[in-house]
Amino acid sequence: MIGQSPLRTVIAHAMLILGILIVAFPIYYTFVASTQTLQTILRPPLPLLPGDQFWNNYSEALFGGVGRIGGVSVGRLLLNTTIMALGIAVGKIFISILSAYAIVFFRFPLRMTFFWLIFITLMLPVEVRILPTYKVMVDLGMIDTYAGLIIPLIASATATLLFRQFFMTIPGELVEAARVDGAGPWRFFFDILLPLSRTNIAALFVILFIYGWTQYLWPLLVTNSSNMNTIVIALRKMVSFADADTQWHLVMVTAMLAIVPPILVVVLMQRWFVRGLVDSEK
């Protein structure tokens, strides 16, 4: 920065450190709680340093199966949630990039009508259409299936709009050059449009993966069997009405494990799309 005085640097850093503390402390405290015995947790105050139960708690949660949620291991929950989040993220990107491609690059009757139809669905979040959607899923026998978890959430007006905006910035000359070079619609899509969209796809993937990962209401409705629960639902189920029944140490372990995949996705993909930004045009 230009003309940065030492005092301003100090204040700026103080603010940043304070912010990090506010965000990080609850996570740290959860981690501390996940390494204590249930007795320690139930007898406040909770120590500020990690305890000695790390291996016991984590192995019990991962492999032992937790009684409260029907004997399903956290590993199974993580698998379910990963499949759902990946399915939602990949599906949303796949569908929206194709619909944006059709809307921007092809001239067909009712093109704008379709565009507006997609646009209007922005106003209809899952919660509004949840009852009819549930009925459809029941009739199709999709309760307690991955398809049932994924498909109703797979269309995205937002992602379609984002891709549309991006596609509209691609100069017409580029499209024409590809046509002269003998690239048909599929070639153009795979050879030119897709590589140019890399950065957008990476950014959207991160956002949509976390969106999928944190879904609560829909998985709650569409899964009955504990085997098909997602980790967010399981966490909720583990917390019981009577405080004494709740295996708090395992709840904390599950919470810690639940935030690992989204963090991994953000960290890994961030690198990827920063490189994408640097590599792409301009």
């Binding site: 024409e176 590809a178 046509r179 140019l196």
Partner: protein
Amino acid sequence: MATVDLKDVKKVYPSGFEAVKGVSIAVPDKELCVLVGPSGCGKSTLLRMIAGLETISSGTVAIDGKIVNSTGPTERDIAMVFQNYALYPHMKVYDNMAYGLRNRGTPKDEIDSRVRATAKILELSALLDRRPRELSGGQRQRVAMGRAIVRNPRVFLFDEPLSNLDAKLRGQMRVEIKNLQRSLGVTSVYVTHDQLEAMTLADILVVMNAGLVEQMGAPLDVYERPASTFVASFIGAPPMNLLPLSQGPAGPALADGKTIEFAPANAVTLGFRPEDADVTFGAEAPSGALILPALVEAVEPVGAESFLHCAAGGSRIVVRVAGRATATVGNQLRVVAKAEKLHWFDQAGKRVG
């Protein structure tokens, strides 16, 4: 290798706007045809219709004698150089050039040898592994040329390819394009709004205005015998001086009332090129010449020549004098132009005589 024939080609947009109003042009094999005109004259639309990027409302476009109205750009076997180059930003120079060949299913080793040979011609060999954003404007322009050349098409189409380059580079590339086109012997259509580019590149010069061809011919013929006031003022820099004539009692007369006895009776505009006139301070009047008393308003010394901007005959005119001008601002002098160097235009702006 190929001829390009346009017959009464029209382009009407769905809005009813007529961009091209019936154009017929025949480009012989291996020749370079330049379409020149102000923006909005329909020249780019015409080029895009030859390329197959724009549908043809009526008339026919034929390449090598075969009507291609309903064939796509790929099957027409043309290559196009775009104004903004339209290089694929995510591909290396090599892949940019190879892409069209790959799409045609050319064998890998042939692609490689053709790309490398083309790169050599264009002095791009050292840049094959770079991406377009790492290149300068001139280099990008070369890659765009290379992408066209490597395909070895029947026809080259150029859509104002030099307009994004600076003046010096533009001059260089102009010569290079001309040499390349001649040595490769590929029939070409070139669109520009720059009359200098048009004059120097063209085998056939087509001057367009408002969707119609104003004049077509060899560049120097067009320069020496412009068919209309539009062509006269568009081709040549500085443009031809045009003076309005009024109908005096004894024939066409200048604004100051002086009759010009050798003017065609129906002439309403008189024109002469800046270099076809001389200035004199004396009073001698050669017969059979136009003599205009003029007041010097500005002097532009360019080096090898100077341009005098004068007020004469009720208009502004420009006269070119070789070397340094002896006249200065405020001088009263006489502009003399020989009768055979004068151009006459009628009421409709068409050439007379």
